[in-house]
């Protein structure tokens, strides 16, 4: 066992995948000599050579596009967009080709590609460096959208993504790249790509989240328990598409309440899809309206005000308490534990 950060777990999984399959190649801007701007590919070019860890010219559309040709020719490219906000030139290739080559050739050609990108805000980045536009990708049939939120899940899910025979958008929450360390065993064991992770069981309210917001959601669940005696379940969706709705429904059946937490803007966010499915399949379990704690429908603000935009623990706690005390409005006095 080694104690590693999320970004180190990404490196570990990449190295493992490259060792076990010579068809795995990495490509992107600055991924080779420099080891990536976040060091996610550190040391890999030295280990596997510049033909398998490829520093490309600066052109995201071509990075996305050459990966399609490589994959159809039997390689398993892992292409990096340096930041999610710079993945958009690649959308044409991902939507028009990577996601549908298998379908349009009836399985004759396919695209086992992983498109990696650091995503989300909170690192005081310049404009375009804080995007959470996972819903754009989740809307595209033929893709998988995977977002790890811990070192263990980063390792296991990235291995699964690389081994998967179809294209995967792998979004790495860079705000928590180095937030925690976990023991990660480099045993080559992948995690399933089609199951949500229940991080905490609970009877009173289900908190559904992914990405960096998992950190604040777990903290909120602790506070809800210790301060308000509210027992919150926490589900890390992690594999947004295809969605494992059953795990979420089973929890909401038990709790009757759901708070969906994501950093991305509210309108058309992936939380809306989960809320719609809860309404379709879980309406009679619900004891209160579904709450969403999300980014606002604005351009992610610059570094000086982004802390006003990002999800915080207080917003999650307030939403969970509204849900629990619906139709009454919660008050601090009513719900503070005697010893708090």
């Amino acid at each position: 066992m080694t104690e590693v950060t999320l970004v180190q777990a990404v490196s570990m999984a990449l190295a493992r995948a490259m060792e076990e399959d010579e068809n795995v190649v990495l490509l992107g801007e600055d991924v080779g000599v420099n080891g990536g701007v976040f060091r996610a590919t550190k040391g890999l070019q030295k280990k596997f050579g510049s033909e398998r860890v490829i520093d490309t010219p600066l052109a995201e559309a071509a990075i996305a596009g050459v990966a399609v040709g490589m994959a159809a020719q039997g390689l398993r490219p892992v292409a990096e967009f340096q930041f999610m906000g710079f993945s958009y030139p690649g959308l044409d290739q991902i939507i028009c080709h990577a996601s549908r080559l298998r379908n349009r050739t009836r399985g004759r050609l396919s695209c086992p590609i992983v498109y990696r990108a650091p995503y989300g805000g909170g690192i005081h980045g310049p404009e375009h460096h804080s995007e959470s536009t996972e819903a754009l990708y989740a809307h595209i049939p033929g893709l998988r959208v995977v977002i790890p939120s811990s070192p263990v899940r980063a390792y296991g899910l990235l291995l699964a993504a690389i081994r998967d025979p179809d294209p995967v958008i792998f979004l790495e929450p860079k705000r928590i790249y180095r937030a925690v360390k976990q023991d990660v065993e480099d045993d080559g064991e992948a995690l399933p790509l089609d199951l949500c992770f229940t991080l905490r069981d609970g009877d009173d309210v289900t908190l559904v989240t992914w990405g960096a917001a998992v950190k604040e959601t777990l903290a909120a669940a602790e506070t809800l328990d210790s301060r308000y005696d509210i027992d919150a379940a926490v589900i890390d969706v992690a594999t947004l598409t295809p969605l494992d709705m059953d795990t979420i429904l089973a929890s909401v059946e038990k709790t009757g309440r759901c708070v969906i937490v994501h950093e991305a803007p509210s309108t058309g966010g992936f939380g809306a899809e989960i809320a719609a499915r809860l309404a379709e399949r879980g309406l009679l379990s619900l004891l209160s309206p579904i709450e969403r704690v999300t980014g606002y429908d604005v351009v992610p603000p610059g570094a000086r005000t982004e802390h006003r935009y990002l999800i915080n623990e207080d917003r999650i706690i307030a939403a969970a308490r509204r849900a629990v005390f619906f139709p009454e409005a919660p008050t601090e006095q009513d719900h503070t534990m005697e010893d708090a």
Binding site: G65, A71, Q73, D92, T105, R106, D194
Partner: protein, 358 residues
């Protein structure tokens, strides 16, 4: 059109007379007759497909009328193990590569099975978004080079496609990687209604390779001997590790952009009649008959055979059932995710398992 720094190759002039020294293969009767047959097969099929569209038997079809020398010339220069990344106007090239007429009809009709062609298994299906396929060719070429294979990727775009950044980015990658890929521009003078001179101020499109270190040249795209020659040489060079090449073929689009277009709205009729004088088939037939290789009887029996083959393909295509409705789910992923099973079941409940035969 030619630029003094950009090489231009032509052997057969419009009247069938020869300029310069013909390459050796021009004496290979079997080869040249095969080129001629492929060109005729392409044109007969093209004519049939347009007729079918006009009578409601096919949806929109992009004819290749007048560009047969380009398609047949470059596709004949490829080896079976090379890989083609075509556009929607490259049906005639796919036919040379071994794609069946029935498969092309299926594709045109909107049946995905048409791109699951039995030969050649590694060629890409026709790309309809403009210029995106050029990057696929570079990626495939990289993979083949990495494995030490000697195959070459060949990709095509139109004069309009050469304006897209995708084309520039792909060539730039190919140059840096010295990838074995040939970029072919079918400059037929039109991007739907936009003429070549509104597409780029560059005197030639071939010189666009200069910016990225990829050698460019022009060829008379109405001269199948010239196209075959320059593409063969470029492929041989790429195969031997000399990197990518760009070839701009000057052709004429002798009909509409597609069956949904009416070029008479924007193209001068006199220009079209001038361009018909340069079309590629007559000059090759003149060359063949001057060589004593081809006569009226050969022509008639060839056309009869080709028409029979085309009729058989049309019959088979029209007798085929549409795919099962549920098949729309079955190739989205290697394995159908649980999340999609309910939707698939809904389609089966609504439409059954069988194709509807239409």
């Amino acid at each position: 059109m030619a630029d003094e720094k950009i090489p231009y190759t032509q052997y057969l002039q419009a009247d069938g007379s020869v300029v310069g020294n013909l390459p050796e293969f021009a004496e290979d009767q079997e080869l040249v007759l095969a080129l001629y047959r492929h060109m005729n097969r392409a044109r007969r099929f093209d004519t049939k497909a347009v007729a079918m569209q006009r009578t409601g038997r096919l949806p929109t079809f992009p004819p290749a009328l007048g560009q047969e020398a380009f398609h047949v010339g470059f596709a004949s220069a490829m080896s079976a193990d090379d890989i083609l990344f075509p556009t929607y106007r490259d049906g005639p090239a796919q036919m040379v590569r071994g794609v069946q007429l029935e498969e092309l009809l299926l594709f045109t009709a909107g049946d995905e099975r048409g791109s699951d062609f039995q030969v050649p298994r590694c060629d890409f299906p026709q790309a309809i978004p403009i210029a995106t396929q050029t990057a696929h060719a570079v990626g495939a070429a990289y993979a083949m080079k990495l494995r030490g294979e000697k195959s070459v990727a060949v990709t095509t775009i139109g004069d309009g496609g050469s304006s897209k950044g995708d084309f520039y980015e792909a060539m730039n990658f190919a140059g840096v990687w010295q990838a074995p890929v040939i970029f072919l521009i079918n400059n037929n003078g039109w991007a739907i209604s936009t003429p070549r001179d509104r597409q780029s101020a560059a005197p030639t499109l071939a010189q666009k390779g200069d910016a990225v270190g990829v050698p460019g040249q022009q060829v008379d795209g109405n001269d199948v001997l010239a196209v075959y020659h320059v593409v063969s040489e470029a492929i041989a060079a790429a195969r031997s590790g000399k990197g990518p090449a760009l070839i701009e073929a000057l052709t004429h689009r002798l009909t509409d952009h597609s069956t949904a277009d009416d070029a008479s709205r924007y193209r001068d009729a006199d220009l079209l009649s001038e361009q018909w004088k340069e079309e590629p088939m007559i000059r090759l037939r003149t060359y063949l008959s001057n060589q004593g290789w081809w006569g009226k009887e050969d022509e008639e029996s060839m056309l009869t055979e080709l028409d029979q083959e085309i009729e058989r393909a049309v019959e088979n295509f029209e007798a085929s059932d549409a795919p099962e409705a549920a098949a729309m789910f079955d190739y989205m992923y290697a394995e159908l995710p649980a999340d999609l099973m309910a939707q698939r079941a809904e389609v089966i409940a609504a439409h059954g398992h069988e194709g509807d035969g239409s």
